[in-house]
Point group: D2
Chain length 460, copies 4
């Protein structure tokens, strides 16, 4: 198959797009064309050059044509696959999301899913995804859509609510951390080297708040081993590389995971930075000191801004051919999913997908993250069961909040958005109702450049 | 119909039983026999005398025979109706439920439904109800069971789980407070006198945490009036009798209700003392001062003990004929329900009943409180709809907890009971995981006389 | 309340409209205006005159203004209630529906719900109701819609599918026959006179194929009495007026009902003419002789045409004042429903409404017929339970067919319409697949004047 | 893993057991012990000898120990897997099931699932499976149970209803026929050789009445090819070996499948002999001539009896070592399933399993047949979607019937069993209610040796 057409929305992305290009280049069984669409056309144009350069590298096993396009319709028309990976707003808005709440004593590690930052980010992201859904309906109704943007669940949910026949999934690498950790544990405990992809797990929950209740390697149950390590390393933490969490804003020592195991006897399947944001502030995020005690970081947006600058410079070099992007696997499974959807292999992995019954105890249609079985033009969820009632009560609270946020946008109802904001565990546990309203207003004001007019923003 | 047979479990009750006797005496359309069963046979015997005296009073419109029995089977055999109204354990256990947590900074107004007290009370109540259900299955499988004991939802749920064909409901007068309040508002605002029973409301939720989302009197929508009063009297509160909450441990100024209206635009339909216990401690129950600010009371168990003494003395007088119990309506609707079940009238009221679909957004089979339509040998829930997502997230959390408590008893799993205990909003918001465990252990120890052996208690 | 606004779609109706006018005139508690809209404006105009004449009759307890309007929007704008009672197509199409299949050996008693006639009628009715729903959404989105047209379930379903927030119900008097029959049985057996409206029944099923599984009068269970009569009069039948079924095309001796009781131990709650059409042809409708044996009639459309002529003549006389329409209760409950929706009384009756959980064992959202509780601006289904599995398998088959017919129209898919046609028990039991297709084609051809172009018809 | 313990209920089986032994012998990755339990202990004993001989054959890749046991508990205790493959009753009862209805004009091809034979067989099978479930609960509650007995769905359903925590599936090879047929079609049309196991299909329905709505080989959609062949060979049929259906009582020319494709545009995924039994008699089974026209056979029980005799003789020879059973794959996947459950490979296949949500449009908990994903100690259904409404109405009717049959046994209610019998499409389409009752009585009488006493049988 050498005529596969991929539309890439957010195709001016730096770093992330290049890894995707490398993954494509490594896949022998299919090739074709990638149309890069971005509100920053310059960036898409640069990536066109970089992509075509990668395709020309001699270790590229398949040759793809990259083309920057100015209109979304041009990207989508006739596409087999649509990749969406955007930044909703800019890092300035993200700075408001993440850091403005600090003056109210609220600390966030990521701020893109729940928490005050997650809610505000959602308010500006959902309207964008409503437009994407309309464009997909118009130009490529039968294409498969793979979303990478956060808030993951709400992005995918918005696509389905706007265009119910969309064929969309959301992909996130957080869950893959668990097999990786287990392979380290197996190494330490039994001295064996196990490829994480051979570890089988049952995943259930919502994005960034997913749980593993069964995990095995061949005929060995890995659950007891995890339990043993969770206890043994409860205080110290358990990392591949000692104290990496101190040097890397995106790392952790898995202490939050171990604490959650102690409470719920389940494996929480996401990075600690994400997990911590789903619980009341006093659990893990009470203040920067407590965060350090739990051995993870509050990623500052200033760091992301610096990173962006470096990536921009790198993009210039790549485009000019002053450096070559290394073709090696990214760890993401997007290309494997496309391959399976083309019928060229079978693949089972966890994705974000509407609940058609794969997860009990949560409402139908909301976006849940479980394993699915992917075959030619088919994504079929695998029944994942039900969470224990206490864990489920937290998951349900976040699902209810997501539904309220979505409804707030659909009904253009800012008060409902505030109710979702206040029902967030971090906000509710830290602020009283009136103070929360002040914070909400400030955050709305601070991000208004990217908010729709019906929410007091500046966008049509 | 003059041969109706009523079994009264907890028939030695003081006060409550006499009101029920008075209600029976006031109902002309049916009569028969009441068998009083109580683990305190003396108390049942005293009530036999009191009941028969009431029947002989000349204002008694129907004549009932009262009979104390020593075995539960003797009470149940051939019964048409079974009333259950017991105290699980004694006030000593209730003292532990309510006041022991105070040394951990946890304050409770009632302590019989959620909160640490509610959880511990449930652990000793469910095993008793499992026995009741077995006895009902054996002796009176087609009788209608009307439960008045708290924790209401778990008592009724236990009956259904143990004997799925049981015909049981739970009755609670808390919801009736709303029509009463609205009639006061109508009086103040429009100068009209309205019988609260003519006010129609849609009720949904779980016992003591019920909500009204529609309310009207004839062709008038009462919702806007409630909203107006909630705003106007937000600070001052709104009572029939000024500052009664200061004098009466069971009264309140409805400030909690008004605050909940402000947040959720719904009418919370229970007394403020109950409502407050369903939310995190810092909302209303942070400390005794905050409780006073919200204008309600923390009913001390010492007061209940004193009351019990007075009632005991009164029972002696009533039995000796030294005083007469006044025959007037109690405000409870148990007798009206029986009348409707006999086919002698139709009746619509709110009851606690398994969710067969009357309430959306919560699991099937759990006990919810909504309106039902009662006709001959039939109780049929009326579709009540769905709560807003934020309110529902609180309701779901309590439902999940109730399910865990039940499961803990069914599986004899004390750790699961602790997980439910910790997932309670009051406990979780106030204590960390380890401290909560200490409190839990102390409460278990303090109530062990009435706990089953598999929970470390002293009962078989 | 003297300013209630009613839009009457199909307001040129003869007979049926006049009864409605009489019912309105008999109701003291509210009055207002009725806008008569009809594709036959002349007929609406005549009814305007007749309506205003009825209002002027001295026994009219309330005075209504009638006004014929030329545009549907004029009727709907600001309406509190919308009555829909139309004839989809003309009696010529109905002749095709009912009698064309006779040459294939298929006999139908009514032909407006299931059966070949029902399917074809649906294909021309659903597009009309899609237009009604759009108009309601535009002009009167919060009005209550009361539909009387058949196919009842599909008419109401179409309204909800097209405009999900519509507040619509379907009313049908067929179910009322059961209390009437039971009152006759009580009269015969116990010599007592009982007002049928005092008989309480639990109703469940789909329109014209509804069932009663509980029925009582005061404290008396009427089920055994029905069973006794069903057995005793199995051969002879049971009628208010001996052999009326021989003289009245709309009457029956209830033998079909008794036969269904014998099979299913349930009371089938519709006229025998309707019930017979839901089963395979050989059960009751094999041929005219068998129909006579079961003591009911195949109502010929020629008779309906004659009736229509007589009614037209009557309308002229009424309009000219040459005769007066008698003001007496019609037996329909539309006016009582409006009164209850205005908050002026409570009312429990059976209506056709989307399944929100009131009926177990059938899909959500399809239109089921059960009791509902009506209060101010509220219609709330009462939980009706589940049919026995064998009865349910027939009900489900018809529900599946209705869903297919609807889908066929929504997708403009004539083949799907044929599949529904062939899955109808009468068609399937009588014709093989290929012959059924011929019949289908003939019927489509014969009704094409009122079919949409995408089905080969002549309407846009 | 060389200590796997398998309990084989019905371990005296001839033919089927030997194939299973050969499959075990071919699997290198695990071995252990097989305990053979049978009500005919002699037969089990003979199979012990045969099994051990097969193990000793030099082409046996794994060595299993076979042991006949006298008590079911001895077989089950400590078992990892339980195979159930029994004949409920004897071929004499099966003769009544299949042939007695012929005198009423009812013809059956198999008579073990629906149809009069299927119903009667179920009545004697369910009580046996209730006993199996109790024994499994007692002796091996965590073993995986693989059932092969028909009526498949009711056998598995009975296990779950009696012991809800059972880990049971039902395996049936009928569905594998579809990939086989498609590989033949691919061979004929495109000249390519495709291993059927590489063809991926989505399966949904109930056992012997399953459907395929998606099928592909690599990136090729096979649905259009099937459609083309179904049309081309509609009259002639399509077989691997021309006119085999004339010589082989178990073969067919797939004409029923092609006819069902013509109606429903789906692939019916079972042998024609089974499929035909789910529809009204006049579709395919009207009489032996019509059956021949559709090119399949009515397998006579006399043939099965003869086969049994031959197998008995073969068993003697095998036991004496006068012949050797050939070790080659049986085509069944039981051993692959066990291997996957042990964690030694992953496996996706279709099995019969309770509906936990994998199939929409049918009730929860009933046994459906869809693909599942099997990993270590885990069977997880894969979401299969929903059948078209017309097909679903047939499936639902059979599900309703199965539920009635089960309920009839649980409630010991023979009248309910008859209602299920009459609601069967073959019975209902062929006989009137009273004649059906006669047939039912005769069949009950004719099989009473193996019916429980509460159904008028001779078993306790």
């Amino acid at each position: 198959m050498n005529n596969v057409k991929i539309a890439y929305i957010g195709g001016g992305s730096k770093g992330w797009a290049w890894k995707f290009m490398a993954d494509l280049a490594l896949e022998e069984s299919f090739s074709g064309e990638v149309r890069l669409y971005d509100i920053n056309f310059e960036a898409a144009k640069t990536n066109e050059i970089i992509g075509n350069r990668i395709s020309m590298q001699k270790d590229a096993k398949s040759k793809w044509r990259y083309r920057a396009v100015k209109e979304i319709g041009e990207a989508l028309e006739g596409a087999d696959f649509i990749i969406i990976s955007i930044l909703p707003g800019t890092f300035d808005e993200m700075e408001v999301d993440v850091h403005l709440p600090e003056k109210y004593g609220i600390y966030q590690a990521v701020g893109d899913t729940p928490g005050p930052g997650g809610v505000i980010r959602s308010l500006r992201t959902i309207p964008i995804y409503m437009e994407f859904a309309e464009a997909i309906k118009k130009y490529a109704p039968s294409a498969w859509v793979i979303n990478y943007t956060n808030p993951m669940a709400l992005c995918v949910r918005t696509l389905y609510v706007t265009f119910p026949k969309v064929k969309a999934i959301g992909c996130c690498h957080e869950v893959f951390k668990i097999p990786k950790i287990l392979s380290l544990m197996l190494k330490e405990k039994e001295g064996i080297d196990v490829d994480p992809s051979e570890i089988k797990q049952n995943v259930l929950g919502i994005n960034h708040f997913t749980w593993v209740d069964k995990i095995s390697y061949k005929n060995k149950d890995l659950f007891p081993i995890y339990g043993e390590f969770a206890e043994k390393y409860y205080e110290e933490g358990f990392e591949e590389e000692k104290d990496r969490w101190k040097r890397d804003y995106f790392a952790s020592a898995n202490r939050v995971k171990f604490d959650l195991y102690r409470r719920y006897k389940l494996i929480a399947a996401a990075g600690d930075r994400h997990l911590a944001e789903f619980f009341p502030a006093n659990w893990y995020l009470e203040n920067p000191e407590k965060v350090r005690k739990w051995k993870f970081s509050l990623t500052p947006v200033s760091f992301r801004k610096e990173q962006a600058k470096e990536l921009y410079e790198m993009s210039q070099k790549l485009a000019k051919g002053e450096m070559e992007f290394p073709i090696k696997p990214s760890g993401e499974v997007g290309v494997q999913i496309m391959k399976a959807l083309l019928g060229l292999s079978d693949f089972i992995t966890n994705v974000n997908y509407p609940n058609v019954g794969q997860m009990d105890g949560v409402p139908r249609d909301v976006i849940v993250e479980t394993n699915v079985c992917i075959t030619r033009d088919n994504i079929r969820p695998i029944y994942a069961g039900k969470l224990p009632n206490d864990v489920n009560s937290w998951v349900l609270r976040h699902i209810m909040n997501q539904e309220m946020i979505l409804e707030a946008v659909l009904n253009k109802d800012l008060e409902l958005a505030f109710r979702a904001f206040y029902n967030d565990p971090i906000v509710e546990s830290k602020l009283d109702f009136d103070t929360a309203r002040e914070l909400f207003k400030e955050m709305i004001e601070g991000t208004k450049r990217y908010l729709p007019k019906y929410f007091g923003g500046e966008k049509d």
